[in-house]
């Protein structure tokens, strides 16, 4: 690990994240609040739709918190992977002109989104308190696990996509498409109980579904469907997918790492 995260690289990582933040909200009056506006407005639309029009929210206690948590996590996933995907190309000028540890650039992109996630989760927490969610300390202590898993998953995907994007610019459009499908295939907005039982197994093959449900289990209420309650002894599958995909991504990233400066 000597070659990773030494003081120089930590400084670089830090500088990139700080610069990214400062630049993003430069010159806007609301500044940081804008990064809350996007997920909150999506949440508002969905909340109105699903409590007043379709009335599916009635089946779940604290549906508002349940939905908001899902939206915030999904928002992180799209933001982190989109940032990550274009990170190497965006910093191409730098990579071509000075030695830069490439992984630090991808890491910085995902970290920026992670900082947003932490703040957004605080909003969820406050919302949950107002909504009268009864926290269970035992379950709450589990909450960091799915959140961490989400960050690792986003990071893994970013490593893969960023190095692919250097070679194939199509990757951006493919990923946009996958995210669009993923939003509906990830139980962000509907309760799993509405999904026919036969499809639930498939739904949980998607690690994002598993992560969202684990987080909801830990934070919102214990009656929600999780990978473990749905898939039984096959519940390891989504976790394994995250692990394998991340390993594959890192392997591919390291393999293509050497030539990135030339291919950019």
């Amino acid at each position: 690990m000597k070659n990773y995260l030494n003081p120089k690289q930590r400084s670089l990582l830090n500088a990139l994240v700080v610069a990214d933040f400062k630049i993003r909200y430069q010159g806007s009056v609301l500044g940081y609040l804008w990064s809350l506006v996007r997920p909150l407005s999506l949440f508002a639309v969905l909340y109105v739709m699903f409590t007043m029009v379709f009335k599916v929210g009635d089946q779940i206690p604290h549906y508002g918190v349940y939905l908001l948590l899902g939206v915030m996590l999904w928002n992180f996933f799209t933001e982190a992977t989109n940032n990550g995907l274009s990170s190497l190309v965006d910093r191409g000028d730098m990579i071509r002109k000075v030695y830069t540890p490439k992984y630090a650039i991808v890491l910085a992109a995902v970290f920026s989104a992670s900082v947003n996630l932490v703040i957004n989760l605080l909003v969820v927490f406050i919302f949950a308190l107002i909504n009268g969610v009864q926290f269970d300390l035992g379950r709450l202590l589990l909450a960091p696990i799915p959140i961490l898993q989400m960050v690792i998953f986003a990071l893994g995907i970013s490593f893969l996509l960023s190095s692919l994007y250097v070679k194939f610019r199509d990757v951006k459009y493919i990923w946009e498409l996958l995210l669009q499908i993923g939003f509906y295939a990830s139980a962000v907005l509907y309760p799993v109980s509405l999904v026919p039982e036969a499809f639930r197994f498939i739904l949980f093959m998607n690690p994002v579904t598993q992560i969202l449900q684990d987080a909801r289990f830990a934070i919102v209420y214990d009656g929600t469907h999780t990978a473990i309650s749905t898939m039984g002894s096959y519940a390891f599958i989504p976790y394994l997918i995250v692990l394998l995909l991340t390993a594959l991504s890192i392997w591919y990233f390291r393999k293509s790492n050497k030539l990135i400066a030339e291919e950019l």
Binding site: K8, S11, N14, L16, K22, R96, V98, F168, A261
Partner: protein, 410 residues
Amino acid sequence: MPKTKKNDTDAILRVEHVSKTFRLPTDRRQSLKQTVLSLGRTNYDQFKVLRDISFEVQRGEFFGILGRNGSGKSTLLKIISNIYSPTEGKVELGGDLTPFIELGIGFNQELSGRDNVFLNGAILGLTKKQIQEKYDEIVAFSELEKFMEQKLRNYSSGMLVRLAFAIAIQAHNDILLIDEVLAVGDANFQQKCLNVFRQLRRSGKTIVLVTHDMGAVEEFCDRAILIEDGEITMEGAGRDVANRYRRINFEQLTDGKRSDTGEIVMRWGNNAATVNKVWVANKPASTKTKLITAREFTLSIDVSYNTDLQDPITGFQVIDASGQIIMGLNSKISHFPKTDRKKGDRAVFEWTQPNILKSGTYFVSATVHDYGGEPYDWWVEAISFVVEREDDTSALVLTEHTLRVEEKKK
């Protein structure tokens, strides 16, 4: 402190048998569809950019890498700074290296000067602590104290360059790797850069300068290599390498043209000034001659100026039959005060010096060039002359001397 004698173990940068081949698809694929469709029948063009490059740079040395555009020197620079990886061979570093390939990498217009110092510093491979320590120096050097909290987009281009240069110069590590940044900025700024180089040189910093500016190599580099078509074709003292380069450049410029007598024409420049005549004479006889036999001789260059020129420099080199440069002087070295010339002016420069040359044939190259080394007229081997002396030596030169012997009796 006097420079200590260097030995081999003192190498701070070691480049060993480095080769680089670029494999470029003949038709660059950019989309997945094209890749899928052309799978299995991709044609690559191989470009061998560098071939078996080996050299060492000693601690405290000012080292030059000289070569024309397209010679591979920029690729070498990128390999040394770990941006590209070599196809074969390796680069060993005995310290931290700060590359200085372009000014202000990663500068962001929307951030303040202060933020950009930290960002650019981190990109150049410095820790936050190192930048904090050097922050005041950087600000002082850039002379931008009042502007550090301003956004960069409010800076003038001159201020930008000053800030970028200050970071690169102040905030560097053991080895500083510089790529032709001298080409940017106005004359004033270039002068400042040159002064900094002189300072760095005096302070014993290790510097690798990659350039096509022979003037800079001549003035600053202890040693240099010349790269042509991806190979080292010469390694030696900065001055010698610069000279060889000058000659190559000029042969290419004149297209190897030959005069009526079949000699290669070896003269080039932009004609802003002309070397009319070059001659040598015995002292005190002082008549033009081809044969130097006296203990002292003069070398004269007759120059006319074809446009108004700011402080042109006149100089010469004496080269022996093997191509070694034995002597070299110019008006700057000889402390001739800066003199601006008007169009139509003419002057004869006469140097008088002891005859240290051993018997043999010598060539004189004469030049008028600007302060940066860009020639107005460069005349390679303008004349030749012969030295004959009784007291001869097999060494390179024979200096004026006395000998005293004290006999010790048993």
